[in-house]
């Protein structure tokens, strides 16, 4: 059976995916209706359009412990809002340089186009990203920052933050 059910001694990366509602989210749904099995490391956050994705979301994801981020939306010219994906593309070309400056390697952020009909392609993006980030290992650069941030941080959330995760040996995941 797939490697997911092996004993989780291996590092299980945590991936956040920012996807557009009209194309990639619907593509992910289509992968569901076709019962396409894929890695379960990815958590999807739905936005109306990739144009809506602020670069801060990606950095916040890494700050809060993500090991990899996927950004995926409509193919050029398919955007439901005609031009949202073009603005996103332009914005993220510039953002990539900023990433390395902020200590996040470009390998950890994956940009892709997945249309509403490309369920198979979404599975590929998920599985490939999980394998690629697994090879890169956990992203620990921001962990201390994250814990300090929570205590006096701007974004107070009512959730009590359990202790910060140890090194990769103790795999996260279980609730």
């Amino acid at each position: 059976m797939s490697e997911m059910t092996e004993p989780t001694t291996e590092f299980e990366p945590r991936i956040t995916a920012f996807v557009c509602n009209w194309c990639t989210y619907t593509g992910a749904d289509m992968a569901g209706t076709s019962r396409m099995q894929m890695a379960s490391n990815v958590r999807i956050i739905r936005l109306p359009c990739t144009g809506r994705i602020d670069a801060l979301f990606i950095i916040k994801a890494f700050e809060r412990g993500a090991d990899g981020v996927i950004v995926s939306g409509c193919h050029p010219a398919d955007c439901h809002y005609t031009a949202g994906n073009y603005h996103a593309r332009r914005r993220f070309i510039v953002f990539r340089e900023l990433l390395s400056f902020m200590g996040i390697s470009n390998e950890r952020v994956i940009f892709s186009w997945v249309s509403a009909g490309e369920g198979a392609k979404w599975r590929e993006v998920v599985n490939e990203t999980v394998e690629r980030v697994r090879a890169l290992g956990p992203f620990t650069a921001y962990h201390e920052l994250a814990s300090r941030q929570m205590v006096g941080g701007a974004y107070e959330t009512e959730v009590e933050l359990p202790d910060v995760r140890e090194a990769p040996a103790e795999a996260g995941g279980a609730s």
């Binding site: 997911m4 749904d29 396409m36 602020d54 603005h87």
Partner: protein, 674 residues
Amino acid sequence: MARIGVFVCHCGENISRTVDCSGVAKALADHPGVAVSMDYKYMCSDPGQNLVKQAIEEHALTGVVVAACSPHMHEKTFRRAASQAGLNPFVVEMANVREQCSWVHEAGPATDAKAIDIVRTIVEKVKNNAPLETVRIPLTKRALVIGGGIAGIQAALDIADGGAEVVLVEKEPSIGGHMSQLSETFPTLDCSQCILTPRMVEVYQHPRITLYTHSEIEAVDGYIGNFHVTVRKKARSVDERLCTGCGDCQAACPNRKIPSEFDAELGTRPAIYVPFPQAVPNIPVLDRENCTLFKGRAKGREKDLCGKCKEACLRSAIDYEQQDELIDEKVGAIVIATGFKLYTIGREQPEGLSGYPEYNYGEIPDVISGLQFERLASASGPTGGRIVRPSDGTVPKRVVFLQCIGSRDPEKGISYCSKICCMYAAKHTMLYRHKVHDGQATVFYMDIRTAGKGYEEFVRRAIEEDGADYIRGRVSRMYRDGDTVKVVGYDTLAGEPAILDADMVVLCTAIRPHKGNKNLGRKLSVTYDQYGFISSAHPKLRPVETTTAGVFVAGACMSPSDIPDSIASASAAASKVLGMFSGDELEREPTVAIVNERTCIGCFNCEKVCPYGAIEHIDVCNRDNEICGHVARVLPGVCQGCGTCVATCPSKSVELQGFTDEQIFAEINALLTW
């Protein structure tokens, strides 16, 4: 404190087969802010929805999260149920644990953990959801129809019959469009004038239709429900209120040799003219370019050289001083129905197209276009319906028709098929046979396309009963040979050359959109394709809507269409307009952007990225009421909620309701708290 209800669905066993639904419900029960958390076999069933309603009342819930299928499936269902229980629908969200979790993973701790994460994310988001009211924008229940061909006429009549007012603007002196130039129409061969003229009169007499002919659209701004249109009513030099259409002025006009546009340059008309007998309105127009008096004035002569029409008019309706008039109209919806024009094979072509040098660029007198043949065959035509050769007026005994002239010819710049030529060519062979019994019609074709109702039978009748001779192959060259035309073609089925001497050749030239579509598209921010046809919002599912809300499209300005297509798309556009006008106000999803006008610095980056032009400039006044700056404001009616402006705003002054930064950060934080 938030009081959120979490409802985990089994979906029969679609979810519960790989996700421990009760475990997820239990896990969420003690999540801060969750007032009640339960699971049930079929949440979307009536009992399931009643569970939600009871929980809302019992626990005075401030938010609901249904962990089940994709929001695209049942978000509307649960939002409607919640609003029936008195809860604002926009604090209800779906957590997608079926398509994006149970269906794509095997049972196991990782899958359960993912399900819990998904639900927790949406719970955190809902905590930050604000109750929203649907956006209501005022609506002017008047529609503007641009173009008075059969599509424009049909749309105007349908909308007006539906109770709304219509402003119909037509560039030519009379409505009727190309259909009024036709003799008979396929596949029924009923006379075009007989089925069109009543509709034209109906438009003229309709109490709710305001008709502007000899007029064009000067400018359009505003947005759905609130368009502000400026119509340029070009000077007719005739006072419409006084003129009775008696025709004395036309009879008196000495300058009668002007080629008639209506007769496709086959006939002539006087300087002051009504294009055709059944014109609506039956009020002449003075063609100032060709009128001797105006040409004299243009050259600066003080004494007018003519004035015969004015003298002949007993009601002194002729007014040489009449100027163009700019009229403002407020409308709620616009239907573009600007129709088509025909490709000509001549030397001068708009860029990207080329003519037919191999057919001598159409400089052979007896080589005419399909529309010119229609005029010859039409009773109101220049020859009174007699099919004769334009060169010497004799009756042609051998007429050759050439299909696909321009169409399906990428080398000439047009690769599409114009759809109507196969049918009207067959019709022409019939009309010709009915009028010239011993005449022989030959048609050079590649593939005959007759997909409409009764179309195939119609063409077969032309071949089998009326004896049209169909040759499969294209013509390589045509040249004048004495007073006949040598047609050098080939018969690919017989494998033999087909070189004919024709008395007259009719070219079935391609349908082209009007040049005006381009700047009309710019005025209405409507897109058009590489040929200039107006693009619809979705070619299959939203054919008569455009990407601009409130602007619809009908007839041949979208793509080559025959009369049934034009009527169908016109009525479809009309039904869309009437649907829009059904309420007193326009209701729109509230997921629109809102500008915080206190922090907005007026850089208008948002305006640059907004694909819909939904940003408005608002004056900001200081204490002594002088304008000291501008800030942005989002027009709720036009904004479609894409959120690009939110991510672009340098001062974070714009928020997209339903997807605010608060909500997104809450989701991120919920996902990655340990």
